[in-house]
Amino acid sequence: MKQAVAAAVEGICQHFGSDRNRMMDIVIAVQERFGCVSTEAMEVIAREVNSHRVEVESVVTFYTFFSMKPRGRVIIRLCKDIVDWMKGYEAVADAVAKELGVTMGETTPDGAITLARTPCIGMSDQAPAALVNDVVVTNLNPERARQMVRHLRRHLDPHQLITMVGDGNNAHPLVRAMVRNNIRRRGPVYFNGFVPGASLQQALARSPEAVIAEIRASRLRGRGGAGFATGQKWEFARNAPGETRYVLCNADEGEPGTFKDRVLLTECADQLFEGMTIAGYALGSRIGIVYLRGEYAYLRAFLASVLEERRQQGLLGRNILNRAGFDFDIRIQMGAGAYVCGEETALISSCEGLRGDPKNRPPFPAQKGYLGCPTIVNNVETLCAVARIMEKGAEWFAAMGSERTTGTKLLSICGDCRKPGVYEVPFGVTARELLEMAEADNPGAMLIGGPCRQMIGPERFGGQICYDDLATGGAILIFNRARDRLEIAEHYLDFFIEESCGHCTPCRVGLILLKRAVHKVVNGAGEPADLDYMRRLAYTIGQTSRCGLGQAAPNPVLGALQSLHGYADMVGERKSGLLSTFDLSKAVVDAELSTGRMSQYV
């Protein structure tokens, strides 16, 4: 038996060339095959790829989709993002747990079904949602959740849960997902028809330098949120010394409340791959990698089929479009449940088969990225825009948008509104206009760009969506007036604590300390000094953390503390001699129970 496992693991390693850099693929395959990556399996992998068991373990334990111990044949991962929570996550979680007879994190005694929580799975427009293995279940309520469990108990086949399929390519035989696109507003750049090869023809009619010049002229900036000029990034990578260059696509859409890349991957795969191929031509690169988040595994087979079609059409592979010497191909690298891998250097680490720890910068990826070679990492939306710019020209693109931010932006709008979904809008649109489009319900606050960006109140609803005012990678969350901002902030702190890589002290330790303080105030035990303590701690974490995750993680707290009433009314002066966090009546409960009588003085 043991020998059979060892032989199978060896086979998996050899399938990936026993290449240490393909550790992610190896571990994913082992996890899929055996339901876990046991110590024995890790030893075999280490031997096979010339590594050490503890090194394999460091990778296996980093990603939430891997486990060293067997879990259920079916894993129900309930999405506990804030929007799911607002739409009834707790009732759904209760229903599932009761029906299964287990608590969160446990497996049923027969070893069949495991119940787990997971952060945002990119379905905030159809929450509460869940992943059942790689099957997406949306719009859950307690009754649907109970039925789902009953069905699963009978057949243990998540695919049998699919009773209807969504619109567009969600109905494609290789996707067959119950996911809806919810495209609410179409614009000129995305979801607007695309002829495979047309943009690439335009690119090949120019020199690689001229392609970069065109992208520069369009003034396209990275759509992931940071807004770095795409043409400039490409130029850096092209001019960096090195023989081999890589084009990486960041499809690790994990910012809570974002789902627009999900829809692009579903409906604009050709446009995306064409954008990558154009980048390959401009950079002189032969290899592209799409880093697809593990939560979107249901799109993997479909995306692979689009790649295969493009090879058949001469749009990928050798001598593309009969251009001698222009070789470029794309592979899909699956992620395995780690938000931090959306950070470009962490994404590179993961592609290299390492823990998803961000890297120190400099050097920047354009100088030394994947495997130490010049690399560009672009967002899905950015690469789709590249393909459209090549087709229609930089001038056409630059004519849209605001003065300093050209083009259009895809937004994922969700939360307290009637029309959650994907909206393509020109840059410069105001927050208030978005609230009207989405038919917001008594809006009190908006989170522009997800928790790592900024929370605004009504006083700033007149602000514009653009890099100079309200910058966003695409997430727009709407909260009605009844929601408490500090409570929202606490929710996001839990998220960042779970998703921190733990490399640096302020993020690893500081966030736990901040969470304690926020929890204290949210629960009515706060004191005036806590507000200043939270501000100082949040500032320290934001300033001294190594990567964008830690630097941004305190933003929801700082945003909440800046809100109009500033929480001064939530904290009270400490009564003399009493510690506000100490609840005497709670502290004596055990004593009361063991003595069998109630305390008379508490």
């Binding site: 998803g356 120190n360 998703e499 330790v509 500081g510 966030l511 320290t540 300033q543 190594r546």
Partner: protein, 240 residues
């Protein structure tokens, strides 16, 4: 070779291309407090104690390379507060019983606390439940005191050509793991350089605790930064 000129707290300093702020400062006789940076092993910028303000932005001095005209703030009130906060975080994250720890005064975390005038941490203790690995005949690993600086990980790899240690899990669950069931099952030997690399009392040689009497220990006389950090030779040899 071209010389790079920049300033630290207004003082002009020069260094070589590719040099880190930490190394250039060291050459110029300026002390930048640090914990995870160690000798010539590859710096990893994880503890953040060496945080400095570089042209307005906070960077880790151990990984940030110097450039011409760079303005570095090292010993300012703001930076001292950041460093104190980080040192405090490291104290409350683990279980540090300084008064009876076998590291006995050779501890760089404790020395930094003294240097920064920290009598007690400003944050509440997290009191984690952590194990102690006493399996190895000559060396033990007390996770209570581990500050996750990763020196052992890198020294074992880069200087000992082994791979005894790695970090597993992530975030607040991240912890040190050894390449085997326990330390005894690894290839760790008492002669490995890694046994003298730990800045705190986490990875310790057995039977050498408390050897130097109080009052004669390196940081008893001068604060860290004014004495060179204890090299292996400063640590008493193991009693055979």
């Amino acid at each position: 070779m071209k010389t790079i000129k920049f300033t630290i707290d207004g003082r002009e300093v020069s260094g070589q291309p590719g040099q880190t702020i930490l190394k250039a400062a060291e050459t110029a006789g300026i002390y930048v407090p640090r914990l995870c940076a160690f000798k010539d092993v590859i710096p990893r910028g994880s503890c953040r104690v060496c945080s400095v303000r570089v042209n307005g932005r906070i960077q880790a001095g151990c990984v940030q390379t110097i450039s011409d005209g760079m303005v570095v703030e090292n010993d300012t009130a703001e930076i001292r507060e950041f460093r104190k906060a980080i040192i405090d975080m490291l104290f409350v994250e683990g279980n540090h019983y300084c008064m009876f720890c076998e590291k006995s005064g050779l501890c760089e975390l404790q020395a930094l606390a003294y240097r920064f005038g920290i009598a007690a941490p400003q944050y509440p203790y997290l009191n984690p439940d952590r194990p102690v690995d006493l399996s190895h005949p000559d060396v033990y690993l007390d996770h209570n005191r581990c500050i996750q600086c990763g020196r052992c990980v890198r020294v074992s790899q880069e200087l000992d050509n082994k791979n005894v240690f790695q970090f597993v899990h992530r975030g607040h669950r991240k912890r040190l793991q050894v390449n085997g069931e326990a330390l005894a099952a690894t290839s760790l030997a008492i002669t490995d350089q890694v046994t003298a690399a730990c800045p705190v009392g986490a990875l310790m040689k057995k039977r050498v605790g408390y050897v130097v009497p109080v009052g004669q220990r390196p940081y008893d006389r001068k604060p860290i930064g004014l004495v060179s950090s204890p090299e292996p030779s400063a640590q008493p040899a193991a009693h055979a």
